[in-house]
Symmetry: C2
Subunit: 164 residues, 2 copies
DNA sequence: TCCTGTTAGTTGAATGCTCAACTTCAATAG
DNA sequence: CTATTGAAGTTGAGCATTCAACTAACAGGA
């Protein structure tokens, strides 16, 4: 039997980890609330609009949305269903693969995005980007990229553990 | 009328911000899932146990739990209610202030924490701490502390905008 | 003492997310 | 060409979180 020793965090690492947890809670809550109050959409919905806006034809497959946000396919289905009801997105079966579904941003979605982008970017600056040294912010980006890379490498799609 | 110009993020900032969003989603989901599967508690519940374990008497007022985690009081009430049902926490009216409620970790809570801590710390290392240069991790801690400080300064308790 | 405002905490409805089961279609192995 | 396996997406139940309304208790002044 192998000894199951825990390699604890030292006090500094512990403090940084806790700062991350608390800061993230606060930051996400704030950005989400700002978008909801000003434009009636959540941060997650906003991020979907951003991704659609970057595509030619403002269209993306459901699975691609899920993959790029690392959300479960189920979650994306629920969110897009709501957004479709709100008139921000149109959905239609993909012509080349009848299993697939293309989500397309409507004009209404586009104009909402245009308005919401100001609120969002201003918030991200005020509560995050402009608070830090450029180098520190870059370092954080490096860390978070490493996190994604590692977790994605370990688990190509995540569907097997998160969806079914 | 003042011009409402948006100060957009440059491509690098945008990439770092997106890395943060995606990485956080992945990291939180993973740590939460690992704790749930191994011990049947969420990351939020785990964090409450940690905070209680650090107090003499393993006791903390509800409001203090909420403040230290930056969760809404309502959320803490719901979570603690569940944990009490599960036998991890005991709740009783505070002797000095009859409005207050003291949450105390039970022995069962303590032994669960003992077991879960290994899972948690191992996960935090594997998916986060050990992936980054020490200096980068410290930088990230600095950024997240700045985030907390700024948002807390702007909004001493958050109860006025989040609860109530 | 009583009135007002504030703080602590709870409640329940509405909303959003997760999880597992399911349908439909595609790919490919025989 | 068909039988199996895998992929894309949806569904609904259950659970967690938010939001607004509420009760109870303290605090401080008139």
């Amino acid at each position: 039997m192998s000894a199951v020793q825990t390699h604890w965090l030292d006090p500094e690492q512990q403090a940084d980890w806790r700062a991350y947890l608390v800061g993230s809670t606060l930051l996400m809550d704030t950005l989400d609330r700002e978008l909801r109050q000003a434009h009636g959409i959540s941060l997650g919905e906003y991020e979907i609009l951003v991704r659609l806006s970057e595509m030619p034809g403002r269209t993306l497959r459901m699975a691609e949305i899920a993959a790029s946000m690392r959300h479960s396919r189920s979650r994306v289905t629920h969110t897009v269903t709501r957004m479709e009801k709100a008139g921000l997105i149109r959905r239609e079966t993909s012509p080349d693969d009848k299993r697939g579904v293309d989500a397309t941003m409507t004009d209404q979605g586009w104009s909402l995005l245009t308005a919401a982008a100001h609120t969002h970017v201003t918030g991200v600056r005020a509560h995050f980007v402009d608070l830090a040294e450029r180098a520190d912010f870059t370092a954080m980006g490096r860390v978070m990229n490493a996190v994604s890379d590692q977790l994605v490498a370990e688990n190509p799609t995540f569907d097997d553990i998160r969806d079914h």
